[in-house]
């Protein structure tokens, strides 16, 4: 409806004043009343109709603050009643029985009082109808608007029809019309319509228990008051004296109000016994909503558990509650959150027997008299003030990942309602907990990957960036790291113009720790290489330093050799590293050089020195040395077969004459082909030295 502004009330007001003007002239004897009566009535009727939109614009009780609207209504009715008591409507009642113009009004003062009452009561009814409309329209259904409109229209029609009895005062104070039957039929219809509309009391549902009680007591006063008002008005209706249309309108309005608030009161009384249950339902729903909101954005497992327990205890009005989550090994249950558990109870955790009872069948369990149930012993040993308990397993993937409990001191403290509520809770909680765990594990995984990345970068930085250029030999090397960071290492050290130190090694273990040890090793080698011209001496010194610095269960396998390009020989030691392959250029068999030796970090020094054998291998132009780590021979294919030393040796036998770079790529290719799509578990490292 178009918003009605003060301007639009001007017209009806003008019409109304027009009517009054006519009255005054008639009173003053200036005009003849009979002729103008209809005219005047017309003005007033039009004014009324133009004011009808007020009904649709009324704000009282239009929003959910129903009680405020009702309070305003209450004061209005009360005020009107008091006004009625103060003023004396008796003169009007008397005059209702007499006829004749002058007697009708008595005096000018009376006339104005009458007019004021007529105006006031009309406005009163318009406001009432507006308020009632708002109440009726709360939770409106398909026909609500239609039924209300019909009521208003029939009401107006009935009021308008009283124009036919303009000059018969008796009719004004009854429901009769000139045609008796029509009158009764219409009355019947109108009352039915009023009752029909009075069923729309859905707004009662939106009140909480306290508000319902307030209305109950308020209604005890208001309902009788309103009926009294109605009866009083009906018998001495000043508006009817003023104008039959207004009179009937006002009368019917009062009647409707009386019928509506009576029906509403009856409905309210029927609501009272279940009001607290209603409140509980509302509270449960809002708790569920709160829980869903709280946990949808929470990824911290413990906070999730806390929120769940808190809301569960709140909604079931429990004395205590706790949430247990299954640990990695299914036997253990961790108390993730608890409300009102003593420190001792929390320390002890949920007893095995109780956990088993709760989760053996994957559905919620309720015990309302613990001391008479199977829970008696375990519960009394752990928490002795529990007589009612609900346990709801949190189910995911067919097994219980946790369990939610609430408990009360009193027997029969819980009902099916509570069980259903907690089941709904648990379903939400399970989703949230699974999510939280996923997030946690993905964070853990990310951290691990980050650690591996750092270790990998460190490892790469320790390897030589380019091959040393030494006249007489060509060097090539490669280190293909596996997915998990291995510990392979190779390096070169210029000792003097013709001598070069060469090391290839493998730190046991994987990950960041291996990378650190490798860095340490590099430092040691860099420091020792220039000083020691004997590989055995160097390694003994290296072992001594390293042994004290690494854990007992860590060791390093190393091969260190000094290439003397002048004397054309390599002197080397094999401290636990794979053997060195030597392929003479002339096509003879590849030799496996395997001097005795022990890994570094396994022995303090005496045994190490004793076991280490220094080996001297002279070479000629075209000869090729291949240094490798166990990643090459242990490379596995999808069937689990290892590449083995044998294969590597025959490969080397075949391709040793290739220039080092090509030989390298050949080896990598062959091993890659062998491994196929299987994952590599260890670094693949080769160092090739070919005499020019």
């Amino acid at each position: 409806m178009r918003k009605i502004g003060p301007l639009s009330l001007i017209l009806p007001l003008a019409l109304f004043l027009g009517g009054i003007l006519i009255d005054l002239n008639v009173l003053g004897g200036l005009l003849d009343s009979r002729a103008l009566a209809y005219f005047r009535e017309g003005f007033i009727t039009l004014a009324l109709i133009l004011c009808l939109p007020i009904i649709y614009q009324q704000r009282w009780a239009s929003d959910r603050n129903i009680l405020r609207g009702l309070r305003s209504l209450f004061y209005l009715i009360l005020g009107t009643f008091l006004l009625l008591l103060i003023s004396n409507l008796e003169p009007f009642a008397d005059q209702s029985l007499s006829t004749g113009r002058n007697v009708l009004y008595g005096s000018l003062v009376n006339y104005f009082i009458l007019t004021a009452w007529a105006l006031f009561s009309s406005l009163f009814v318009l406001v009432i109808l507006g308020t009632l409309r708002n109440l009726i329209f709360i939770k409106q259904r398909k026909n609500t608007a239609l039924h209300f409109l019909i009521l208003i229209l029939v009401l107006i029609l009935y009021a308008l029809l009283s124009i036919t009895n303009l000059n018969d005062l008796d009719f004004r104070f009854s429901y009769r019309l000139s045609s008796e039957n029509l009158g009764y039929i219409l009355l019947f219809i109108v009352i039915n319509l009023m009752v029909l509309n009075s069923f729309r009391v859905a707004w009662i549902n939106y009140l909480n228990r306290k508000q319902k009680l307030t209305l109950f007591f308020g209604g005890l006063i208001l309902v009788p008051l309103q009926w009294l008002l109605y009866i009083k008005f009906h018998t001495a209706n000043p508006a009817a004296l003023f104008s039959p249309v207004l009179g009937r309108f006002v009368d019917l309005g009062f009647l409707f109000l009386s019928i509506y608030i009576s029906m509403a009161y009856i409905a309210l009384v029927f609501h009272l016994p279940t009001a607290h249950l209603f409140d509980r339902q509302i509270k449960q729903l809002s708790s569920l909503h709160t829980l869903s909101r709280a946990i949808s954005s929470e990824f911290n497992l413990d906070r999730l558990a806390e929120t769940t327990v808190e809301l569960a205890v709140q909604v079931t009005e429990a004395d205590s509650g706790w949430l247990a989550l299954a640990g990695e090994e299914s036997a253990s249950w961790r108390l993730a959150a608890a409300r009102n558990l003593s420190a001792a109870e929390m320390e002890r955790g949920v007893p095995e027997a109780i956990a088993r009872w709760a989760t053996s069948q994957l559905r919620p369990r309720l015990v309302n008299h613990v001391s008479r149930s199977e829970l008696n012993v375990p519960m009394s040993l752990w928490k002795d003030d529990v007589q009612s308990v609900i346990a709801v397993p949190l189910e995911s993937g067919g097994e219980a990942i946790g369990c939610l409990y609430v408990a009360k001191k009193l027997e029969y403290g819980f009902e099916q309602d509570d069980l259903d509520m907690l089941r709904a809770f648990s379903e939400q909680a399970v989703v949230a907990i699974s999510n939280a765990r996923l997030v946690e594990s993905s964070l853990v995984r990310e951290r691990l990957e980050q650690e591996l990345r750092i270790a990998h970068d460190a490892q790469m930085k320790l390897l030589p960036k380019k091959m040393p250029q030494v006249p007489g030999i060509t060097l090539e090397a490669v280190c293909r790291t596996a997915n998990e960071v291995g510990g392979d290492y190779y390096d070169f050290f210029r000792i003097d113009a013709t001598r070069l130190g060469l090391v290839i090694g493998d730190v046991s273990g994987k990950g960041a720790s291996a990378a650190f040890i490798m860095a340490e090793l590099k430092g040691i080698m860099e420091a020792l290489a220039p000083k020691h011209h004997s590989p055995k001496e160097l390694l003994i010194a290296a072992n001594e330093t390293l042994y004290g610095n690494i854990d007992r269960n860590i060791f390093v396998s190393l091969a260190y050799g000094i290439v003397d390009t002048g004397a054309m020989e390599i002197t080397f030691c094999r401290a636990g590293q794979c053997p060195v392959l030597f392929a003479p250029a002339a096509g003879e068999k590849v030799q496996t050089l395997e001097p005795k030796g022990m890994g570094l970090g396994l022995d303090q020094g005496a045994s190490f020195a004793q076991a280490l054998e220094e080996y001297r291998q002279p070479y000629r132009a075209g000869d090729t040395f291949l240094f490798y780590t166990d990643g090459a021979v242990e490379a596995r294919n999808a069937r689990g077969e290892e590449f083995t030393e044998t294969r590597l040796v025959s490969l080397f036998q075949r391709y040793h004459a290739l220039p080092p770079r090509r030989l390298l790529s050949q080896l990598i290719e062959e091993i890659g082909g062998f491994v196929g799509s299987a994952r590599s578990h260890d670094d693949l490292t080769f160092v090739i030295l070919q005499a020019v």
């Binding site: 493998d506 046991s508 273990g509 994987k510 854990d551 007992r552 269960n553 860590i554 060791f555 396998s557 401290a575 636990g576 590293q577 794979c578 053997p579 395997e594 005795k596 030796g597 022990m598 890994g599 396994l602 022995d603 045994s607 004793q610 076991a611 578990h681």
Partner: protein, 123 residues
């Protein structure tokens, strides 16, 4: 993760651990736990039977290194037997035969234990 299992056999004054399957970084903690348990029970004479072991990595080797000092300190020992040639080669390259007594047959290893000093376990 590959498969790894340990079968423990308690003898008169020694314990035999049969290790079966793959011993790598993932499964090494299992072996660690088993040996630690023996240590806690004061069973310091340990024979490890490698007959059914298919693979050992540096992590697995490290487990033995981690305990040997303590065990020898208590007058016990870890001896090894029945290694496949492949497994023995791994030990050999690293020089482990210098540190550990490795026997081909279980009987040989068992015999050496009976000559050791009395066990400290209460039975």
């Amino acid at each position: 993760m590959e498969n790894f299992k340990i079968v423990r056999l308690d003898g008169t004054n020694l314990t035999t651990l049969k290790i079966i399957g793959f011993l790598d970084a993932h499964t090494a903690p299992t072996l660690e736990e088993a040996i630690q348990k023996l240590l806690d029970e004061e069973q310091v004479n340990i024979l490890v039977d490698f007959k059914d072991l298919n693979y050992i990595s540096s992590a697995g080797l490290g487990v033995f290194m981690g305990f040997i000092e303590e065990i020898r300190g208590k007058n016990g020992d870890i001896k090894m037997c029945s290694m496949s040639p492949k497994i023995y080669r791994v030990f050999d390259l690293l020089g482990f035969p210098t540190i550990y007594q490795i026997y081909e047959r279980q009987e040989e290893a068992l015999a050496t234990f009976t000559q050791k000093s009395a066990p400290t376990s209460n039975e």
